[in-house]
Amino acid sequence: MPQNSATFKQKIALFVRKFCVSAFVVFSFAAYVIHERTTNVGTRSDTVPFPGVINPTPPANSDAGQPPVVVITQVPSSSVNNIRQSPAATRAAPATVTPKPAAIAGSQYHDGTYTGSLANAHFGWVQVQTTIQNGQIANVQFLQYPSDRRTSQRINQYAAPLLTQEAIQAQSANVNIISGATLTSRAFTESLQSALSNAKA
């Protein structure tokens, strides 16, 4: 019995902490949107009403009423204004989020390099390889990737006259991060899951 109540109290404490963090984050974001929309004068002509669906009427006996508008200081400041319309200020409902407990990665994968099976991406095959270090995913690489295009040196005849154009060129410089089209195809996920299954075995 004491064991159960201690675990129960821990769960409640964890839940409360996660609730507070998530509620803060979500509410901060909602307030950021409101802040942006009410403090920036837009140059676009169409003004539209904020959709009413996200403004539920406050409960009849609520003491809180409407939440206060919070100015978020963590929002990265931009030296230029975004183009926005500025409709009448409205308020988003406070968030009540119930996040799942975080799963701790690393305990299920054995170190090494694992290759996934070929997965069909409709326009070709995808195969990935993943390297596990210290029980965690260190990187993911493509072994096979559909490619039905060729790089061309022809200049596109339809040129936007006022914007600079250039032929893309491979760069050999080192980078910290790579930004590319989101690779969320099922084929990518399938092959990576299969590689990770091999890492678990």
């Binding site: 963090v21 998530s22 984050v25 974001f29 169409d46 539209v48 904020f50 959709p51 669906v53 963590q74 929002v75 990265p76 204004n81 975004n82 183009i83 409902a93 968030a95 799942k100 975080a102 990665a105 991406a121 409709h122 965690q136 995913i137 260190a138 990187n139 493509f142 559909p146 295009r149 790089t151 061309s152 040196q153 022809r154 596109n156 936007a160 914007l163 600079t164 154009q165 032929a167 893309i168 491979a170 760069q171 410089a173 980078v175 910290n176 991060i177 790579i178 930004s179 590319g180 089209a181 989101t182 690779l183 969320t184 099922r186 084929a187 990518f188 996920t189 990576l192 899951q193 990770l196």
Partner: protein
């Protein structure tokens, strides 16, 4: 500290340069992503969005986060003249908005914990903060859409968001809401730099759906720069994009 986990169908990497980072900080970020995935993944049968798509849950009865996403999607649709639209043939997929929103919130979590030098990267969309381990702006490469093992541009960024929309696999998830049956073929990649990843991501998604006109949408949007690559391998840059390009 740096970690990569597979979540939301993509590699999610978090790197914190600040010395006081702990595994617990990383776990909090990934915990948040797992929450987002469980709620918004159209690949998960039990997710809230799947319940909505099956008609088992009305949006008016949905959670606050879900309703917030729907409202933000509606706002974005109006701001982009309909080129951003999470609904297609009665099926709703908010992932184009959720990703940037989630990365942004995860970065806010880290800021709240006192970190100012880090990045959060989910599938190539990145929120950048402060400087890298060398004390310099983060060096971000744009992947070659024709050869995923190459990069074609090197950027130096701080305190901003960078998102790339594209179809490395032809006919992938982005389509033109105004011509839903037509595969997008004129451009293959559009990278947008914006004040944060939420803004960069939603406008990159919308601009990509506009085809070759998309770069003009980004050009006229104050505070955003873009790099568009067409199917011929020719890139078009917005006027001040060059300010972010590394010169070395």
């Amino acid at each position: 500290m740096k970690e990569t986990r597979l979540l939301m169908g993509m590699p999610v990497t978090v790197e914190i340069v600040d010395a006081h980072a702990t595994q617990h900080d990383l776990d909090c970020v990934y915990g948040y992503f797992e929450y987002v995935d469980a709620k918004f993944s159209t690949y998960k049968e039990a997710s809230e969005i799947s319940q909505i798509n099956r008609g088992q849950l009305a949006i008016g009865q949905a959670s606050d986060d879900m309703q917030l996403i729907f409202a933000l999607a509606d706002l974005t649709r109006q701001e982009t003249d309909g080129y951003f639209d999470i609904q297609r043939n009665g099926y709703i997929d908010p992932s184009g908005l959720v990703k940037g929103w989630a990365i942004y919130n995860a970065a806010q979590l880290l800021r709240q914990r006192g970190f100012s030098n880090f990045y959060v990267d989910a599938g190539g969309d990145i929120q950048i903060a402060g400087h890298n381990a060398e004390g310099k702006r983060w060096r971000v490469g744009i992947r070659n859409p024709f050869n995923i093992h190459e990069i074609v541009k090197v950027l130096e960024l701080t305190d901003c968001g960078v998102a790339t929309s594209g179809t490395s696999i032809r006919g992938q998830h982005i389509y033109n809401p105004k011509q839903p049956d037509q595969l997008l073929e004129s451009i293959v990649s559009l990278t947008v730099i914006g004040p944060n990843i939420y803004e960069a991501d939603r406008f990159a998604t919308a601009a990509f759906a506009m085809g070759t006109e998309g770069i003009w949408f980004i050009e006229q949007l104050e505070g955003f720069e873009g790099y568009m690559i067409n199917k011929e391998g020719i890139a078009t840059l917005t006027s001040n994009f060059g300010e972010f390009v590394a010169h070395d």
